[in-house]
Amino acid sequence: MSQESSARETGGSDGVQATPESFLRRYVFSLDHKVIGIQYALTAFLFLLLGFSLVLVLRWQLAYPDEPVPVLGGLLGEERVTEDGAILPEFYNQLGAMHGTIMVFLAIVPLVVGAFGNYLIPLMIGAPDMAFPKLNMASYWTYAAGGLVMLASFFVPGGAANSGWTSYPPLANIATEGQTYWLFGMLMMIISSLLGSVNAIVTIVQLRAPGMTLDRLPFFIWAQLVTAFLLLLAFPPLQTAAVLQMMDRLLDTSFFMPSGLVVNGEVMANSGGGTPLLWQHLFWFLAHPEVYVLILPAFGIVAEIIANNTRRPLWGYRSMVAATLAIGVLAFIVWAHHMFLTGMGTVISAFFQTTTMIISIPSVVILTCLFLSLWGGAIRFTVPMLFALAFLPMFGIGGLTGLPLGLAAADIYLHDTYYVIGHFHYVVAPGTIFAIFAGVYYWFPKVTGRKLSTVLGHLHFWPSLIFMNGIFLPMFKMGMAGVSRRLFDGGRQYDFGEGVAGLNVAMSHSAWALAAVQVFFVVNLVWSLARGRRVGDNPWQATTLEWSAPSPPIPHGNFAREVRVERGPYEYSAPGADQDYLSQADAAQVAEATGS
């Protein structure tokens, strides 16, 4: 069914107002969750590209220290590069700090929550929109404004923030102006995610279609629900922290400044009496839950795709939901495993070490259920499924390498080395980012009515898999050799670093190659948008509700008629049924949506 005909039908059937919307209302200040979701997606993909580009420059310095950067070297200006175009240490620090900040707060979270959550939550629960469309719009625009502030910071004197994405004081307190921009940007991001999370929770709880009981919610929705609670409750303490750091920087208070701090050989004039550890506690109280914000929605995406492509119900759906809820609670009591080296005493270390070991159990439960879901399935190796399948072992590596970090004794050695960088990148890069790609390939037909090219998809997937590992696997070796993170020369100044420094060359080339093969993805998006094969409303023969809406779903309202939910989310290969899947929606809805 074409979009026009379905829109006309609803216009007639339940009186949806047909007044044409102005261009601004429709595409810019839209209140439709689908448009807002796409706005989030486009903006966040641009930030993903920017965050990636920063690190592509940074990796030049790691592979070829102090050599002029090709092409860019001449363009970056004397504040950033030497006369012949080699990266200055100050700029190196900006690249690293802003890479982390942009990737976590401006790219990945907005993608998995702002884009996927916004677009799919109402569709998957059979709702006409999010509960608060205006808040939804405000949330996007606050995010966009926060992003602009972060971008602007590159052009202020001294450049962007350069104290790491963790912004530890006292360093961040005395850093250049860019840090103030960073704090302003973060405050906006936090407000944005606050509005978004309230919206998501209320929508999921209140706007479920009749019959969509809790045990019929797709796993994706459970993942989004817990994620929203994490954002809601973990972010505010960072807001507190950002305000305090702002006070320190702008009004010379000493919340994070110890008495008698010596900087550049001079005692700071502050009144003192503060402690940098306070920042670390407030920061990690957010930032550990934040890592689950990065991974839970990825689990959700992958779970949907696996159920669909194995043509079987998820193995252990209830255990997965229980595990997700457990993570949601435990995520709040593990934060100080990032602080084992701050001298916090063995009793407290033992506590956080124990909680960390406990929280790895639900993660393993989810991963195991997903693996077992594959068992005996007639797997369809579609492009989204390839990315979803690759996600499993990649996240597995990321998660397992986290265990030694959670044990205080091992962490004393590994802390702040490249091993940690390897650990969390396995979780977020070939982990979450692969889940995002999987999701894009899977839901693109719903958004556009067209399928992405399979050939280009393969050209995108296989090299990405190889180069991702080419970048991150060597990091474990470097870290175990003792190389610290955030070093301008990649560790060459130390004897133990020299032996592994050569790995940097292969890693950097992997990174650049990874960038190159993303061209297949971009070309695929653009080409398929115009020329991709037109497919029906349910090309994957999927069960969940979004597939019983037209492709694309009707603006402001989604479904042609009120949805009634008849069964659970994963009725694949149900015995006795005459096709291998049964939609969650009732028969009338399905018939209407498919135009039969």
């Binding site: 107002q17 006409p128 929109d129 209320v202 972010f235 009004l251 919340f255 407030l282 109280f285």
Partner: protein, 197 residues
């Protein structure tokens, strides 16, 4: 298109979207001020000595301000009650107006306190006590001002909604009231923390 359960309660949850939303928002506010009070505790416990609040701040003004906020919580509750029991818009607007006046007096007293400190040359940077004093009362003040802005809207232009949908207007007053109580509550904790101990 209509969003379901904007004014009606969803039968199985017993909630309207707005009422649920404000409680979630307040949960995040609890975490925000929770972070702030935890910081206060950590910094104070780590300090070698700490001044007595009563020696530095004007307890009488603080107490008067507490009283004002408690009264304003009562007036806003009465405004909502009037709407709910069919007491009419005029009565509700008078009560909202009273709430606003009480809030504005609070702000005036607070501003006066700050001004005195600043005239004495006291700044947030003076020491940790004043750093916390200015930051915590300042953040509370921002919340209060936001509340006043919403109240001004509800008592003024926003009241037009009453004619179209009394139910929705009543709910807006209720939700604002819940928020206002929270801001009041924060002050009730803040006052003894800063002024009395």
């Amino acid at each position: 298109m209509e969003i379901p359960y904007t004014t009606a309660e969803r039968p199985d949850t017993g909630l309207t979207n707005g009422r649920f939303g404000i409680w979630l928002f307040l949960a995040s506010e609890v975490m925000f001020f929770g972070g702030l009070f935890s910081s206060y505790l950590l910094l104070r416990l780590g300090a070698t000595d700490w001044p007595r609040g009563a020696d530095r701040l004007d307890v009488v003004l603080g107490a008067v301000n507490s009283l004002l906020l408690v009264l304003s919580s009562i007036t806003i509750l009465a405004a909502w009650g009037a709407l709910r029991d069919g007491g009419g818009l005029a009565k509700a607007r008078r009560l909202l107006g009273a709430t606003i006046v009480l809030g504005v007096v609070f702000v005036a007293i607070k501003a006066n306190e700050w001004q005195h400190k600043l005239e004495e040359g006291i700044r947030p940077a003076t020491d940790m006590f004043y750093a916390l004093y200015f930051t915590m009362t300042g953040l509370h003040l921002i919340h209060l001002l936001a509340g006043l802005a919403v109240l001004g809207y509800l008592a003024g232009p926003g009241a037009a909604l009453f004619r179209r949908s009394p139910k929705q207007y009543t709910q807006r007053v209720e939700i604002t009231g819940i928020y206002w109580h929270f801001v009041d509550l924060v002050w009730i904790v803040l006052f003894p923390t800063l002024y009395l101990t």
